[in-house]
């Protein structure tokens, strides 16, 4: 089973992301759970969202405590939440940042496998707005191969209707541009 935790802020679409990815995995015949950290919804406040993907029915009904992957939509959360603290050894960090991998390693001290993409720039260019949730799914898929990019097409259409094509394009652009580097000992 793969457990992924999304770190975002209210309004950035972390919950939508886990739902889309869960649907994509289910459409591929897998089992998945996508759910938010439940609570009052406040724009701008830190938000967690959780995703589990498995080959059979998932019985867990608790938060993801030790994720295999963390995805950080908003780098300003790193100092507040220390999201990598409970990441499994061998885990993956997927980060939205304009900085290079080596800069990110230096700045935050991340030792895990690291995937970085400047999702804000891609989202501004492709979607016209700096909302990076669907863009970051491309980075996540590049780093983990958890679903095929194409599997997002149907859930995106259901969710965004005519805007789905642009979101898929942003996702694919991020997939191309994401830099991935193995863990540093």
């Amino acid at each position: 089973m793969l457990e992924i935790r999304f770190h975002g802020r209210g309004g950035q679409g972390a919950v939508t992301s886990v739902e889309l990815l869960a649907l994509a995995a289910i459409n591929e015949g897998k089992f998945a759970q996508g759910f938010p950290s439940f609570g009052p919804e406040r724009r701008g406040a830190p938000v967690l969202a959780f995703l589990r993907i498995n080959d059979h029915h998932i019985r867990l009904r608790c938060k993801v405590a030790h994720p295999d992957v963390i995805l950080i939509l908003d780098p300003s959360l790193i100092r507040i939440q220390k999201p990598a603290m409970d990441l499994k050894a061998g885990g993956v960090i997927v980060l939205n940042s304009p900085k290079s991998i080596s800069e990110v390693r230096r700045e935050y001290g991340f030792k895990h496998t690291l995937a970085v993409v400047d999702a804000n720039t891609i989202a501004r260019e492709v979607l016209g707005v700096p909302i990076t949730n669907t863009t970051m799914l491309g980075a996540l898929i590049k780093a983990t191969g958890v679903v095929a990019v194409e599997s997002l097409e149907h859930p995106l259409k259901e969710r965004f209707g005519p805007l789905a094509a642009k979101n898929l394009a942003a996702c694919k652009a991020a997939y191309e541009k994401t830099q991935v580097e193995e863990a540093r000992p």
Partner: protein, 394 residues
């Protein structure tokens, strides 16, 4: 998988509204409350878009919601509502009236803690405060069960030998708000399983009758006795309906679900989706060689006394996990009921009670393993406490 069933991913709340749609509910009255909201929001849009031919009655409170349901059900309409926590509490007096009038209303309860302190998160204090309302009360563990039992609830409630409103309890947020995979049967299967509701009695201006007349002391007791007997007797009908659903869909349900109970000396007992979490712990403990099994109570009212005694068969210790607290009392509600099922027996297992997951406190498989470890250290004949409030600080 049943023939022509579709495997889909969706939020469990939405699956519940689809179940209501496919059951062809004719009247819905509800007031939105977290975490039930998505169920009724979606139903409201299904009705507004013409995808469900039903009357959706907007009301100003849950008291009115259930009162409206009493009216539509008495008029002969297949009726649904949903609520949570304070909403269920606000319905309280009407809950008894609906069941005493023998109106087959179906209600989804997205279980949530009662205030105060104000909490929107999950536990079972809402339903436990409504334990004695005379409804059939079922608990589910996952999205598929939430869908299946919502459909089946109509058939149970409307059975001419039952005619008792039915509640499907689903843990708020941790179940209702999860997007997961489930199978949606084809409409034709549901239509075959659940024919239109034909009321035995209904309000009709052309044939006036009284429902809800008052009862003098000379008759009140007999009416209550009849209610109790009918509710207990509904058990066989419920099982028959679950069997029929099992034949149609391949998904079989039992009033007391068993998991790895073969040769178990220790049994965990849970209700709602804690059962799935506990199952993960049980599997791991079994691998370590500990003879632990799990019972998950699906049917809370009518309480399955005989099935429970049979399922416990041979276990030395039952660890009952409640998600509610009986303030000022001793055993929490599920423990009290389970104890009462065994009290009169010459040979009975020891029982320990643990209260977990109140007000949305996260419960993981590790917690169940810890509970089993702690329970083994207790002297079950003379436990150090009447019950244990697991995880409490200070």
């Amino acid at each position: 998988m049943a023939e022509h069933a579709k495997r889909l991913g969706m939020e469990v709340s939405i699956a519940v509204s689809h179940a209501v749609q496919m059951a062809r509910a004719e009247a819905i009255a509800a007031y939105p409350i977290t975490p039930q909201t998505h169920i009724v929001e979606h139903l409201s849009s299904l009705v507004a878009n013409g995808d469900l031919e039903a009357e959706f009655i907007n009301v100003e409170s849950e008291h009115s919601a259930l009162s409206a349901c009493v009216g539509t059900s008495a008029a002969g309409a297949r009726t649904f509502t949903a609520t949570s926590s304070q909403g269920l509490a606000l319905m309280h007096e009407i809950l008894f009236i609906a069941s005493a009038l023998r109106l087959p209303i179906v209600m989804a309860v997205a279980n949530r803690a009662l205030s105060g302190p104000l909490s929107i998160w999950n536990d079972h204090s809402d339903i436990m405060a409504a334990r004695d309302i005379g409804w059939i009360q079922v608990f589910v563990e996952n999205g598929q069960e939430a869908f299946d039992h919502t459909v089946m609830a109509f058939k149970m409630a409307e059975n001419s030998q039952v005619l008792i409103p039915t509640m499907v309890n689903m843990d708020g947020f941790i179940l209702t708000h999860v997007v997961e995979a489930l199978e949606i049967p084809e409409q034709a299967l549901i239509d075959r399983f659940l024919p239109p509701y034909v009321p035995r009695h209904q309000l009709d201006p052309k044939r006036p009758m009284t429902m809800g007349a008052f009862a003098m002391p000379e008759i009140y007791l007999e009416v209550k006795m009849k209610h109790q007997v009918t509710l207990m007797n509904s058990y066989d009908r419920i099982l028959a309906i679950w069997e029929e659903w099992g034949r149609l869909t391949g998904r079989h349900y039992q009033p007391v679900e068993r998991f790895r109970t073969e040769g178990a000396k220790i049994l965990l007992l849970t209700m709602g989706c804690l059962g799935e979490v506990a199952a993960v712990a049980v599997e791991e403990l079994r691998e370590q060689g500990l003879p632990v099994g799990l019972l998950s109570l699906r049917l809370w009212r009518p309480f399955p006394f005989a099935a429970l005694r049979e399922a416990v068969n041979g276990a030395e210790l039952v660890i009952v996990c409640d998600r509610a607290l009986s303030l000022g009392g001793g055993a929490p509600p599920v423990l009290a009921e389970v104890r009462s099922a065994f009290y009169s027996l010459a040979s009975r297992p020891a029982m320990l009670g643990y209260i977990i997951g109140l007000g949305g406190r996260d419960v993981s498989p590790e917690d169940f393993k810890e509970i089993v470890a702690r329970a083994q250290k207790e002297n079950p004949e003379a436990p150090s406490q009447e019950f244990f409030l697991y995880g409490v600080r200070g």
